[in-house]
């Protein structure tokens, strides 16, 4: 009984401080967002008009919002698939392939992730420059004097240019995460596999991936969240949704409406959609990928 009491107290003191701060600085503000999404309000005047679900109805007839929705989904899909694949391959190479200079590569690959978005926007503006950019310069060797590609000007390409930047930024982050969990896989598993003559590629699929599965699931959720957030930071510093909304994403459109179009309530309705969308999408991904955690 005494022990029971101590246990309860221990649990309480461990969980309460974090929970209280979480409530104050995240839950209550979020409730406020949900509340505001039912109002028509410019942001300054004292009169707020309750409009029910009006903002949401308008939202789904707003072609610019739908465009930003589409762009965001496209970014999530591309960035997740490409980054996930590359990060996993590079992590496996660096942990298993006995490459010279593992530390060097690991250190270098992580660098893009520590850069502020302002730096990244500056770098990629110089890379994507149609005339003197690095990318067209390199491609020019192969393509000859063909018409320069407008990486940030052609509506069909520009969203992929944004995706490219986000992938470049994210590979190192996820690679280090995968490496961290790959490092804790017992070497003996690989040794016995080697003795049985299992190929490195097969080891990767039968040992590495199952054993870091928990970690992979964690990162899938992060991909969704960070694609939404980072695409916003990048777009606002680099293109501001241009040209003609071709790079507009969820949160950049939310900012434009909430602050640039005197529609704070409407903007918050977008915030609600972003929250629900990312939550549901992650729940689906999480359910689809559920496996029992493997202990070793």
């Amino acid at each position: 009984m005494e022990k029971q009491k101590g246990r309860g107290r221990f649990i309480f003191f461990c969980v309460a401080p974090a929970t209280i701060l979480f409530l104050i600085f995240m839950v209550i503000p979020t409730i406020n967002i949900f509340r505001m999404s039912f109002y028509k309000w410019g942001g300054y005047s004292p009169n707020k008009e309750f409009v029910g679900f009006n903002n949401f109805v308008t939202l789904f007839q707003d072609t610019k919002f739908l465009q930003s929705f589409q762009n965001t989904v496209l970014l999530i899909v591309i960035v997740t698939i490409v980054t996930f694949g590359l990060a996993l391959i590079f992590a496996a190479l660096l942990t298993r392939a006995k490459v010279k200079g593992t530390n060097f590569f690991r250190t270098i690959f992580y660098i893009p992730n520590i850069l502020s978005m302002v730096v990244i926007a500056a770098i990629f503006s110089a890379i994507y420059d149609p005339d003197r950019g690095l990318l067209n310069g390199i491609l020019g060797i192969f393509r000859g004097d063909a018409q320069a590609i407008a990486w940030l000007g052609d509506q069909k390409i520009v969203i992929y240019s944004i995706a490219g930047t986000l992938i470049w930024q994210a590979i190192g982050y996820y690679m280090v995460m995968y490496m961290a969990s790959m490092a804790s896989i017992p070497e003996s598993l690989y040794e016995s596999a080697n003795l049985e003559g299992v190929s490195a590629v097969k080891q990767f699929f039968t040992i590495t991936i199952p054993l870091i599965w928990t970690n992979i699931r964690t990162t899938l959720t992060f991909f969704i969240i960070s694609s939404i957030n980072l695409s916003f930071l990048l777009v606002t510093t680099m293109t501001d949704g241009k040209p003609d909304g071709a790079t507009e994403v969820f949160l950049s459109y939310m900012y434009k409406q909430a602050y640039g179009n005197s529609s704070y309530g409407y903007g918050m309705a977008i915030g609600v959609i972003v929250f629900l969308f990312s939550f549901l999408l992650s729940a689906v991904v999480n359910a689809v990928t559920k496996r029992e955690p493997i202990e070793f």
Binding site: G43, Y44, T237, Y259, N261
Partner: protein, 452 residues
Amino acid sequence: MKMKKILALVMALTLSSVMVTGCGGDTDKDQSKGGNTTGGEKQTLKVAALESAYGADVWKEVVKAFEEEKGNVTVDLTIDKSLETVISAKMKAGEYPDFVHLATGRPDALTETLIKDNGLLAIDDVFDMTVPGESKTVSEKLIPGFRDSSIIKPYSDGKTYMAPMFYSPAGLFYNAGLLKEKGWEVPTTWDQMWELGDKAKAEGIALFTYPTSGYFDAFSWALLANIGGPDFLKKVTSYEEGIWDTAEGAKYLEIMGKLAEYTEKNTVANANNTNYLKNQQLILDNKAIFMPNGTWVIGEMEEAPKAEGFEWATASIPRVNESDEQYITTFFEQCWIPAASENQDLAKEFMAFMYSDKAAQIFANYGAVQPIQGASAMIPDSRGEKSLYAIYDTPVNAITDGGFATTDAVEGVSIADSWFSAYDSVVSGSKTVEEWKAGIVEASDKLRPALK
């Protein structure tokens, strides 16, 4: 070369002197805080001003001049390049500045938001006030045309809510040296414009570029007025039904559609926040002839490398027929007093002071011209902006009331997006002129019922 050095020296000197006064200002503030307890009569005025192309120092000097003029006033000055973020947060918290210099037409649209929310103070009486330290009233000093601009009278109540600041001609900017060298004339009609475009194309020079699509507002006001006169412009900007189906509306779309074909090919790729200077650089490198812009471009591109014999010049937007009236958009900024200001009388006095010769001279020293008579002559000869005001000496009609009619906020509808941002798509070829028009009409239809 020498000139540049001297300029740099002068700038360095003014900069260092302002830094000293800047520090002085800080200690003043501290004293006033301490002075409250001893019960001084000192009043504090909270001024917030956007740091634009003219720099931050200009405001420090003007504020100092006002403090000297008044004697018992301390100004608490906030200057920031992104003033919106700084003050909007405070305003949401109920802490309002007393005087704000922040124009309409900025991406964050804070001024427009306050207009929509009825957050500005009516300031008609300021125009009848005597300018502090002088004998004339504000109205007497103002250049005619500004007082009646619909921009500063955003509602239908006829009252004035903003005061005009820093005006400049918004025309086509070009390198006079290039045209001289090639022996080309500045086109006055669109037919001449296209002719020049073909000639230039043969030499690998594009006719047209633009920094970002946002610059098409001032450009369009003048073009619309050239086509159908100021009444037509008014109808367009107040979203009149069917206006885009008129012959004049069609003409505008036709010209813009053709202009898109003459636009430098990389323009759209660089027409964003990070890269717009590259488009402006095209003019400096003689790769494109014209761009819509404002006088601030000279400051922006001051340190950029320029083609030999480069010389800034402005031209009016071409007309359809030689016999048409010529219009030019006069771009001007605005200052205003929040309705929630706690110090309205003093703020009005400060506003009136903006039109004093003393303040106008300080502004002019930094290239900003107040809309009072004779102010453009105050610009020091060393500054390139001076010659640009010569355009007002030619037979042009200045438009001082371009700008969209005020509406209540309509969620998800932005005429600037549908009109100007969408023009990027016309230039890049992903939208036809017809599709572009449909977007403008749709946005206009949605905004019309919300007119204030």
